[in-house]
Amino acid sequence: QQQVKQSPQSLIVQKGGISIINCAYENTAFDYFPWYQQFPGKGPALLIAIRPDVSEKKEGRFTISFNKSAKQFSLHIMDSQPGDSATYFCAPSKAAGNKLTFGGGTRVLVKP
């Protein structure tokens, strides 16, 4: 059973463009919805996270949009930069300190 589905698998965007990654989940007990960024040879690092009491959260160029009824949340990267080239994972959980259920990942390439 695949609890978390992430799309697209890969994405190429021009510098300055917008990257959009989607995550669909099945477990209604999830209460914490983070996005992690991973560079080659490194562990994942928390980028931004949202809790279900809000529908949108923005931190700099990164925005999470959350749709509880559709059981989906998305990551928007505005003004994409070459340094944003990485793999992005959604990893919903019952709590930040609890077991994270990772999606399959989206490899983003930002072309200069």
Partner: protein
């Protein structure tokens, strides 16, 4: 302030052998979780340790076992290695299990089973 550290960085073993991976949590953290990340896939939760006890376990066989020490560091042991155990093993630490206790990941140990 040191983050999460893991050792060794890389490891090569043969089928049937046993391996021990080590993790030191971020300063102030008392909870350690282990994840397995196969090439090109998302990390999969193995288990979590808090107060020296296994609190949660993912869908991994008993060949995978762990331990947490009084200083909160942790070990992951894998017995009877299979080729499919080749992966990046990630350790994450947090200051507890709660809703606000963000997990911080180490750089991982790359295990290759031949």
């Amino acid at each position: 302030d040191a983050g999460v550290t893991q050792s060794p960085t890389h490891l090569i073993k043969t089928r049937g052998q046993q391996v021990t991976l080590r993790c030191s949590p971020k300063s102030g953290h008392d909870t350690v979780s282990w994840y397995q990340q196969a090439l090109g896939q998302g990390p999969q939760f193995i288990f979590q340790y808090y107060e020296e006890e296994e609190r949660q376990r993912g869908n991994f066989p008993d060949r995978f076992s762990g331990h947490q020490f009084p200083n909160y560091s942790s070990e992951l042991n894998v017995n009877a290695l299979l080729l499919g155990d080749s992966a990046l093993y990630l350790c994450a630490s947090s200051a507890g299990l709660g809703i606000y206790n963000e997990q911080f990941f180490g750089p991982g140990t790359r295990l290759t089973v031949l």
